[in-house]
Symmetry: C2
Subunit: 263 residues, 2 copies
DNA sequence: ACCTGAACACCGTTCAAGT
DNA sequence: ACCTGAACACCGTTCAAGT
């Protein structure tokens, strides 16, 4: 935390300051503060510099490019994903507990939490999905926990990564679905060009202009996530007794949209 | 097709030209030509104008913003997705053919084609995933074909949209996976921070630095897509005889990367 | 209606000068 | 080593002037 962002200060004079002002942590904090309050469009080198009370060029003493800073933000976000249940399973196995371990519940809880975070940071989804784990220690740690829990629980080793990758792909796409505008399926004016689409949509909600109220997104996510987990489990000979049912204590409804400007 | 992009021409003088130079179709053609040859980073109003031999400000007589042009490109891309097998099923049903209809094969073929296209246009995936169908006639048409084929084939009407949305979410995320760099899972230097991840990766390929050669991405996509289709089918009472097996004649390997600069 | 050309606000980034 | 301040190339967009 940098305390530079508290109140307005007298202009600093040129030359190296006596104490360093910027740090990677402080820059990352500032970036996330700007994103949360004003959205990704407002996250510029200039806005960052202003927030930290330095000149824009000062940023380049710590980051080689804006991309660097984005990577710090990404890794920080990954660290905030809740892998608690998966870690608890790993701990239990390490302590000799023979189970049964609630791996299905833990996987679905992780996936919901992951999707909700990504939905609030859609401008970063593409970068996160295609960012190498090298140099992203928190990201690497998340994968290690998930893969480790699956191995600990007796998952066939060669099927661990395909499951993780399939679930993640589904999470990224679902994050977009959550953040889509409510009128994404509004067929107004095109009823005769798309009669089937219009009717199956209308049957799901009184107000077909509101995608959210149709419940389609939520159902797609719950059934899709369970489909992947349970099908991979069946193929791995790891059938779960409650396959097919969504855990009652996991809320998969769409999270509140981000407070900043969307886009 | 505008023929403006053929050879260098003398400078046009100010004032309205005798024949209109720009059209929505010509601008869309030019945009796709630039994207294909030089990538999305090079697609700017200035490069577009240069390609079309007009001044940048001329673009604004046809588009209100660059976003407008991006939407034209998006819709054009959606029109190029192969829905042939799904249309054939609709035609057969309309002609009184009682089947059985190869809906599983048609769905998987569509999904592979969709993913391959999106993988070549990842900078547009987020926009496409969150773009309202209103004003995107080709996009709307694709949804109508998919939803229509499912209804025609006897799919429970209320389950049509959740399946389409779940499949699409998976497609978007998988497109990113395909376009990810080959070293995305390279754990070099972090072997002890992520021992399980490192070992399950090494077991899949001699060269763990090459994600492509591990086959993880392909397996994740095939198993994931089948999981969604077959699980939804089972829930809908529409079990397919070949559930669980990937159709031998559909190639789900990663397509060649785009020729332009990757981001 | 539809083009040119000048101008604007903003973007990320570089670099010399200062301590 | 780490800041300021001036400068640069480029971005999307606006608008007056011209036919």
């Amino acid at each position: 935390m940098t305390d530079a962002s508290t109140t307005s200060q007298p202009r600093r004079r040129v030359g190296r300051p006596t104490t360093r002002i910027l740090t990677r942590e402080g820059i990352t904090d500032a970036a996330l503060a700007i994103v949360r309050s004003k959205g990704y469009d407002s996250l510029t080198i200039a806005s960052l510099a202003k927030h930290l009370h330095v000149s824009p060029s000062a940023m380049y003493n710590h980051a080689r490019s804006k991309q660097d800073i984005m990577r710090w933000v990404q890794d920080r976000l990954m660290a905030s994903i809740d892998t608690g249940e998966l870690r608890a399973i790993r701990d239990a196995v390490a302590a000799g507990d023979e189970g049964p371990h609630p791996w299905r519940h833990a996987l679905l809880a992780w996936v919901v939490n992951y999707r909700d975070l990504m939905a609030r940071h859609t401008p970063l989804v593409r970068a996160i999905a295609t960012m190498p784990v090298t140099g992203a220690p928190e990201t690497l740690d998340m994968y290690e926990v998930v893969a480790g829990a699956l191995v600990d629980v007796g998952w066939p080793r060669e099927r661990v990564l395909p499951l993780v990758v399939a679930l993640e792909s589904f999470v990224y796409g679902s994050a977009y679905d959550v953040s889509a505008p409510d009128d994404i399926f509004d067929t107004a004016g095109f009823e005769e060009a798309a009669p089937t689409l219009t009717s199956v949509l209308l049957e799901r909600a009184d107000d077909a202009h509101s995608y959210t109220t149709t419940g389609v997104g939520r159902e797609a996510f719950e059934l899709g996530a369970m489909a992947i987990v349970d099908s991979f489990a069946a193929a791995a000979g790891k059938d779960s007794p409650d396959a097919g049912a969504w855990p009652a204590d996991i809320d998969a409804s769409a999270p509140k949209p981000a407070r900043g400007r969307r886009r």
